[in-house]
Amino acid sequence: MNAPLIWAGLPILFGVVVWLLKKYPRIQLLAGCGLFVLFALLAIFLPIENPVGTQRAGFIINSSLNILGRQFVLTFAEQPMLMLLFGFSAFWMLGLFSISQARRLVSYGLVILGLLTASLMVQPFLYAALIIEAAVLISVPLLAEPAAHNSRGLVRFIIFLSLAVPFTLLAGWAANLAEANPANGMFQIRAAILLALGFSFMLGVFPLFTWMPMLSEETHPYISGFLLNLLSVVILFLGVRFLNTYGWLRTMAGVPNALQIAGGFMVLSAGLWAGFDRKLIRLPAYLNVFQNGLALVALSLRGASPLILFSALLIPRLIMTGYLCLALSVLERKQVLGKGAFADQPFAAVMVLVSIFSMSGFPLLAGFPSMLLLIERLGQQAPAILLLVALGLIALIGAGIRHMISMVTPAAEPDTQSLFTEPASSVLLNIYFTAGILVCLIIGLFPSRFMLAAEEIVRAFQNWQ
């Protein structure tokens, strides 16, 4: 048995098996969620390259797998990262118990997560772009809403992610060449430019993120939210891995500045777009770009552990986006996205607002500790970028206030039909949202525990100084 097979091969296989159970939706959902939890637990308790069990009946999980002359490698140090990905997915899948429209996510989610995990394991990792493209293409049936009459966002999603493939593959080739010829600066510049183009398409660097809000509007918020966040996090990890492997790229003059400018403009543009867009359903997409921008800015910083700051930004992001998308799904189902939301669905409406304010670094909420650290470091190292980030944050807070006013305002004409036909908000969902608000407050008030977890997540990237 080896690690890539367990955390990449088996999820893909089980994803197909779970998909075959679609005639039995309850069993499908239970099996899928159980598998996500199982893989997350295995990432915690099954150490790679260490003996498991007794000396007689024990076994060792190998870290590598050979396929067509290439290696898939997963080390012990990367297990916390896996735990984050599978744990986040398991947490996301739990919400499916209350959203029947998005239940197809469970089988597709296993396959997509398996492929994305494989993309983090493949060596040389230029092949990761192709595996990500495969995951993108597999996600198309999941994103194609049966009732949607417009698939422009979906088509753009395919185009933009596909355009990233040639650049990333060429960047991998150029990086190998640059490493073989360290004296020739031209090779290094070429690799850096190709890599920047590839990652710009994948991460939605300004102005290449137009497809994200369109996709959010066209598809179920819970599905698009899961996919956008999972893809972004995996691509960010890939970028970190690239920079960790190629030290010359990390230390190259201009790379930190490029990361700061790209990240700063992503934060500013996403904040402004979120502030001016009336449609609440597009918000998860803007928040995704916003958080990607913050992650890039964090990676650009010098000094003590920018990577810990990077992963400290990821944890509240994943938790709060999960709750935000669940709350938006509830509001959309009840047709109260906007006016009248507070009166009709108070728990979901509060959850939406808490998520927005948490991600904009509001004091005492989950996003605050990492945002405070980021702002402090930016103030010391790049005041101009701090200005961009601060403007983005203000715009996002403005968006939160605007949506709050809209939600508190009573609906002009209450939709009596939907009030009678739709079941009342379930107690379970209200408990779930209350727990979410409490988690948000606990992380905000006691950040030391989650900072330790953040440190563990990036343990694999040891070359980073």
Binding site: I138, R152, L154, I159, S162, V165, P166, W173
Partner: protein, 197 residues
């Protein structure tokens, strides 16, 4: 006559095939051009890849074409769109202009991507053809064919840089995926329209 001598002719034929896919309003003829394009790619790529590996690309290309042919009665209406003659001429004009730019910039591009000039030109012609198709159309079918053309161009160039079996295999999967995804989205759109009617 060896392949090196006929390569420039292959490039010209690739230009013709790419232009046909972009401008033809008849889907059957466009598919014939796509099949011819894959044959030309195979001939061009044999100069940098082993014939067996190049043959895989031809077979996959024809497989995708056959897949589209199998549903032709259902999807051909989605190809024959509302584009006026002027719009079509604009696309063709933009593409030819882009090819001129590519041809003029070829020595500079060759500094960055050091492969045989004919192979590079062939790849860039398809890349630019695919890019124009993808960028100037909203139709799923045209976007799919554009992406297939774009990837074909990239495969030609990348095969010359890194002749790896795994990359070729993964690119084959991506090509099939793009073809299937395009077909899926077009057929889904059709079914929705039928439900609405």
């Amino acid at each position: 006559m060896n392949l090196a001598q006929v390569s420039p002719l292959l490039v010209v034929l690739l230009m013709a095939a790419s232009l046909c896919i972009l401008m033809l309003q008849n889907f059957r003829l466009a598919l014939a051009a796509l099949a011819a394009q894959y044959l030309l790619i195979f001939l061009l790529i044999t100069s940098v890849l082993p014939s067996s590996l190049a043959l895989v690309k031809l077979l996959v290309g024809w497989m995708i074409t056959a897949l589209l042919v199998s549903e032709i009665w259902l999807i051909e209406k989605d190809w024959e769109n509302r584009i006026a003659l002027s719009g079509n001429l604009l696309r063709g004009g933009v593409l030819i202009l882009l090819w001129i730019v590519v041809y003029l910039g070829l020595p500079l591009i060759q500094l960055w991507i050091p492969v045989n000039q004919t192979v590079l030109l062939g790849g860039l012609i398809l890349l630019s053809g695919g890019l124009i198709q993808v960028g100037l159309s909203n139709q799923v079918l045209r976007v799919s064919l554009g992406l297939l053309t774009l990837f074909s161009g990239f495969e030609i160039i990348y095969a010359a840089l890194e002749p790896s079996v795994l990359v070729s295999g993964l690119l084959v999967l991506v090509n099939i995926g793009i073809g299937l995804t395009g077909l899926f989205l077009v057929i889904r759109g059709k079914e929705e329209n039928e439900v609405i009617q």
